[in-house]
């Protein structure tokens, strides 16, 4: 049962200047994530969950604590790899910019809440999917296009739209394109920031079905930030509840939702309206 740890977070925190005072956006977050494990981070706006996601993905640097990741050898690269820690994991703070960029476009995915932030709006849908492969050196036009078509089908996008700009796609289609663009390099870990928020409910449902299938089939590990407990119940094995920058409760998804311990979790669960 003890296969390799993928991500290990220890006491991670980030502070920001607010007015002229420093304030912790999130603090003292610790957890381990294994391959294929889906973790939901829930809490209301301002609870620090999006900041945490950015720390995990090295888009922000930790002001305390650390994030360790199981960094694989770079294919076809002779570049020296920093020394591994005892657990075989590397502290992301020790990696070079170039190495982090490489991680971010091969082994990780990042699905933004607003597709515009995660897509390149001035190139076609197909080119959006091909971009990561091109960054890895793929140049053969036919192969790139073939991959783009395959992934469009996989995320149930109409392949006839391959040459359209993403701005002409609907909101749900843009999210699908963003997902395809991220998964084309077969990442092992995907970060998602409110991936279904802002979509119509019926579109949301179909997108959730797609995510659930992909995560299962591809054995993806994922960290999903959401304020929607139903999304957590549907997709996540485990969850982490945040309030005022702190993790107030974490555990197995059905345990946290059916037997919440912390006052705030109890409030969250009891506030959900079921139709």
């Amino acid at each position: 049962m003890n296969d390799d740890l993928l991500l290990s977070v220890r006491g991670a925190g980030k502070q920001f200047m607010q007015g002229n005072r420093l304030r912790w956006a999130c603090r003292d977050v610790s957890f381990d994530l294994y391959p294929g494990e889906v973790l939901a981070v829930v809490g209301e706006s301002g609870s620090g969950k999006s900041t945490l996601l950015r720390l995990l993905a090295s888009r922000l640097a930790c002001d305390e604590g650390s994030v360790h990741y199981d960094v694989r050898e770079e294919a076809g690269s002779a570049s020296a790899v920093p020394a591994r820690g005892a657990a075989g994991l590397m502290d992301l703070a020790d990696l070079s910019e170039a190495r982090l960029r490489w991680l971010a476009r091969t082994d990780w995915g990042f699905v933004e809440q607003h597709a515009r932030d995660g897509l390149r709006m001035n190139v076609s849908g197909g080119a959006n999917i091909g971009e990561r492969m091109m960054a890895l050196g793929a140049r053969h036009y036919g192969k790139l296009r073939g991959q783009a078509l395959t992934w469009m089908e996989r995320v149930e996008l109409d392949v006839d739209r391959i040459d359209d700009l993403p701005g002409n796609y609907s909101g749900g289609m843009q999210q699908r394109l963003q997902i395809a663009r991220n998964l084309v390099t077969h990442p092992r870990l995907v970060f998602m920031d409110e991936p279904t928020t802002g979509l119509d409910v019926s579109v949301q449902a179909r997108l959730l079905d797609l995510l659930r299938e992909l995560v299962d089939q591809l054995h993806l590990a994922a960290v999903i930030v959401t304020h929607d407990l139903a999304v957590a119940r549907l997709l996540a094995h485990r969850m982490l509840v945040m309030k005022d920058g702190l993790v107030v409760e974490q555990g197995l998804t059905d345990r946290v939702l059916d037997d919440p311990q912390h006052p705030y979790t109890q409030l969250l669960v009891s506030s959900v309206l079921t139709p």
């Binding site: 049962m1 294994y34 494990e37 449902a205 079905d209 659930r212 549907l234 094995h237 485990r238 555990g251 197995l252 998804t253 059905d254 345990r255 059916d258 037997d259 311990q261 912390h262 006052p263 109890q266 409030l267 009891s270």
Partner: protein, 232 residues
Amino acid sequence: MTALLEASNLSKTFTLHGRGGLDLPVFAGIELSVYPGECLALTGHSGSGKSSLLRCLYGNYGASSGEVRIRHQDQWVSLSGAAPREVLEVRRQTLGYVSQFLRVIPRVSTLDIVAEPLRRLGVAADLARSQAAQWLVRLNLHERLWHLPPATFSGGEQQRVNIAHGLIAGQPVLLLDEPTASLDADNRRVVVELIHAARERGAAVVGIFHDDEVREAVASRCFDVEQYRKPL
């Protein structure tokens, strides 16, 4: 013989923070061991904590104190203290559960819902589906329903989907929460036969059976949860 499931000094109290930290004690000091081939029936009045105990045994409710241990691949695992992925692994391989009400992923067909526990064990999709079909035939669920999500089914139909889903993986420990509650006599008889078959293959079963006739037919022993009830 080694037990497959044990609870020692198990207590459960709900603390309702929204009600000024009100404590609702459910039970305390539960000791039980369940052995291969037996069916332990939990008894007690409505509200005595039978379902809560079953949920604690499944790891769905946390233990307020004490421990739940399960024999998983020839080793004892503390279910009440295990990491989430360990609990999920124990459920996949060792611990099956039929809940009182069907709670499923919306929009998924009945056949796929029933096949899912086998898929999680790595069984190929076609094989898992054909086995799921056999379970649904056994439970008299009409074939025209197989490709529909069960959301619109009757209570009895949903319960049969639930039973097929809970039993298909053949785990060695089974927890059954009123599996026959909304079934007619014919289907109750099928479920009684299925529980007997599970016991014969050596499964340890813990169940809540409201129907006296069913309980007498399947249970080898009763466990009165009432005795462990804590006064309010």
